[in-house]
């Protein structure tokens, strides 16, 4: 019994040792790959960053308007972003290589699928990011324009603009991710329709007032001008 246990234990230890001895080189290879990958990725990052600095990539992205957006999203400058992204992609690539050396079944497949999905995710994130930014930008623009034009209920207008843009952006994001396309289409249809209906009602109700003011402005204006001098800011 005792021998048996010892034998089994020994056997198990042997197996473990064999298995370990079998995997150890692979593990070491993986670690080496990961380390080398990190070094290479780091070098690539540094090189890329200096190249981008030399060609004034920041200035370029500033002109394209990207820097301001990044700035507003509290993200690092464009050069940093790009070089970091390249660093991670390179390093992850090496790690993946290492993992595949380990030869773990199933994991490889999962990793492959993940990598196939990654671009979609990335693009979706990007769209979402810029979409939200645009939504906030345009809603604020609408708000300011409305306030300065003395249009009633500026916030409603601003909210409407924001909502339309967000709904629109979300629909694109989901499509990009390929999630429940049919459902999303229907959901979007419903949401958009509801929004439009809401707006129509809102305008309908508020419109009476607006139309009245519009007509007033149009026809009573002359009288008003007689009573009022315009101020010139300069």
């Amino acid at each position: 019994m005792r021998e048996m246990i010892i034998s089994e234990l020994t056997q198990a230890l042997h197996d473990l040792a064999r298995g370990f001895a079998h995997y150890l080189p692979r593990l070491i290879v993986m670690l080496i790959l990961a380390f080398v990958g990190w070094v290479i990725a780091y070098v690539v990052k540094v090189v890329l960053r200096s190249i981008l600095t030399v060609i004034k990539f920041d200035k370029l992205s500033e002109n394209a308007g990207a820097s301001q957006l990044l700035n507003k999203a509290a993200l690092p400058p464009a050069t940093e972003m790009l070089s970091r992204f390249v660093f991670w992609v390179t390093w992850l690539g090496f790690i993946m290589l290492g993992v595949s050396v380990l030869g773990i079944l199933g994991l490889q497949e999962q990793i492959a699928r993940f990598f196939l999905f990654l671009p979609h995710l990335f693009v979706a994130m990007l769209i979402l990011f810029f979409g939200l930014l645009a939504a906030s930008f345009f809603s604020r623009a609408a708000l300011l324009a409305a306030v300065n034009a003395n249009v009633p209920s500026p916030r409603v207008l601003s909210l409407a603009v924001r909502s339309i843009i967000i709904v629109f952006i979300l629909s694109i994001v989901f499509e990009e991710l390929g999630l429940a396309e049919q459902t999303m289409l229907v959901a979007f249809g419903i949401a958009f329709g509801a929004l439009m209906l809401g707006l129509a009602i809102a305008f309908g109700i508020g419109g009476r007032d607006l139309a009245q003011r519009f007509l007033e402005k149009k026809f009573v204006r002359r009288k008003k001008e007689e009573n009022e001098d315009e101020l010139s800011p300069l």
Binding site: N63, K72, V147, N148, P154, S232, P233, L234
Partner: protein, 422 residues
């Protein structure tokens, strides 16, 4: 690289024919056919009266008029080919014209005038406005003489105008420029001004034309460049400036051209203005600034209402721009009734300075920051009108002076906010 070919071949040929001049008059136009004839005539008599011996040229830069404005300008040359003029001149006085595509705000017109001035080695240049219908021929002398005879580099005008005219000038631009740059220029943004060859060339050679930042509000940038470059600046009293009809909707574009330009200039001029303490008057010929006191009917109620609406509706925007105490202050006065409403000078100065600092930090889109000033400016105007409703010219001046001193007093506050970022 700068785009150096913005002058057309035809214009260049005209410039070759004009050759070296002593005096250059720039005349940017766009559909001014109605007034341009009398303006050109005013300019011509100004040149013949004040500078009969000098070589002079009138350069019209037209922004795509469809009413034949450029033809009207060039048709009134004083030369031997068209001896119809009843003005007797010693010399040929060329009037040449070129046009540009693009918006009048783009600054191309002024850039073209500067380029022409440099190519023609003009000793003294002025820009005249086709809209200043009441300009007199002696305006030319008043703007040119300090440059041509006395060695100044920039002459800005002062006018006789209504006390409630140019409120953006009196309530923001003049006090703020004075406090920050230390120079008391009443009208830093005007359609008429004179400048020297030195200043013109320096400004033309600076960067920023090609990427478009040199465009909008270029006149103000020019004035600021003269100050920061250590050029000799003076003011010259011209006369009555006619009230230009402006709709309320004009406020935002005007703010962009003036306050926006000023705020963005603060960024590059930091090393200059951060060291300035107090302010100095600039030499002025003629009277300083005359105010007319005719009664004026202004709807203060509407101004106040737009202010209050703005403060309420734009709260989210103001939260990113203003400090909490300032925003609270604004909300407090927004809630006041018409009688108690008072937007104090100190609060106004803090507001403006916080806007400037936020602009520099780009907390939100810079254009949105500028737009957000509009309702607050209306509130300030409302208070200013109320304070000075029955005020004499001296009282108004005293009030403006008080505001200026407030801007100067709170300058450290701006500096502090500015540095907190760095």
């Amino acid at each position: 690289m700068e785009d150096e070919t913005f002058l057309t071949d035809d214009f260049l040929r005209q410039l070759i024919n004009v050759g070296e001049v002593d005096i250059l008059v720039g005349l940017p136009t766009r559909n001014n056919a109605k007034t341009i004839g009398s303006i050109v005539h005013t300019i011509q008599s100004g040149i013949l009266g004040g500078f009969p011996r000098e070589r002079a040229v009138i350069i019209n830069v037209d922004g795509g008029s469809r009413d034949g404005t450029p033809e009207l300008v060039t048709g009134i040359s004083i030369d031997d080919v068209r001896p119809a003029s009843n003005l007797h001149a010693l010399r040929t006085l060329h009037s040449i014209s070129t046009n540009y595509a693009g918006s009048p705000e783009s600054g191309v017109a002024f850039r073209t005038i500067l380029a022409a001035a440099e190519l023609l080695r003009a000793k003294a240049c002025i820009v005249m406005s086709p809209e200043s219908v009441n300009s007199e021929s002696d305006w030319l002398s008043k703007l040119l003489r300090p440059i041509y005879r006395d060695g100044f580099d920039l002459v800005t005008p002062t006018y006789r105008r209504h006390k409630f005219d140019g409120l953006l000038m009196t309530n923001l631009l003049y006090p703020m420029i004075r406090a920050l740059y230390g120079v008391r220029i009443r009208e830093a943004f005007t359609p008429e001004f004179g400048f020297s060859n030195r200043l013109g060339s320096q400004f033309l050679g600076q960067n920023g034309w090609a990427d478009g930042t040199g465009g909008s509000g270029v006149e103000l940038r020019f004035t600021l460049a003269a100050i920061t470059g250590g050029y000799r600046v003076c003011q010259s009293f011209l006369g009555k400036k006619d009230h230009v009809e402006r709709r309320a909707a004009d406020l935002v574009p005007t703010l962009r051209q003036t306050v926006g330009v000023l705020f963005s200039a603060l960024e590059s001029d930091f090393s200059v203005w951060s060291k300035v303490v107090g302010s100095q008057p600039v030499p002025t010929t003629g009277s300083d600034q005359e105010l007319l006191l005719d009664p004026m009917r202004v709807n203060r109620k509407r101004l106040r209402q737009m202010f209050s609406t703005g403060v309420a509706e734009l709260q989210s925007v103001f939260q990113s721009i203003l400090s909490p105490p300032t925003l609270e202050g604004l909300q407090r006065i927004a809630a006041l009734g018409e009688e108690e409403f008072h937007y104090s000078a100190e609060l106004w100065v803090r507001t403006v300075y916080e806007f400037a600092a936020s602009y520099q930090k780009s907390v939100i889109s810079r254009d949105h920051i500028i737009q957000a000033i509009a309702p607050l400016f209306r509130g300030r105007v409302c208070t200013f009108l109320g304070e000075n409703r029955n005020a004499s010219a001296n009282d108004v001046e005293t009030n403006i002076e008080g505001l200026c001193l407030e801007f100067e007093r709170l300058k450290p506050y701006l500096l502090q906010m500015w540095k907190s970022r760095e």
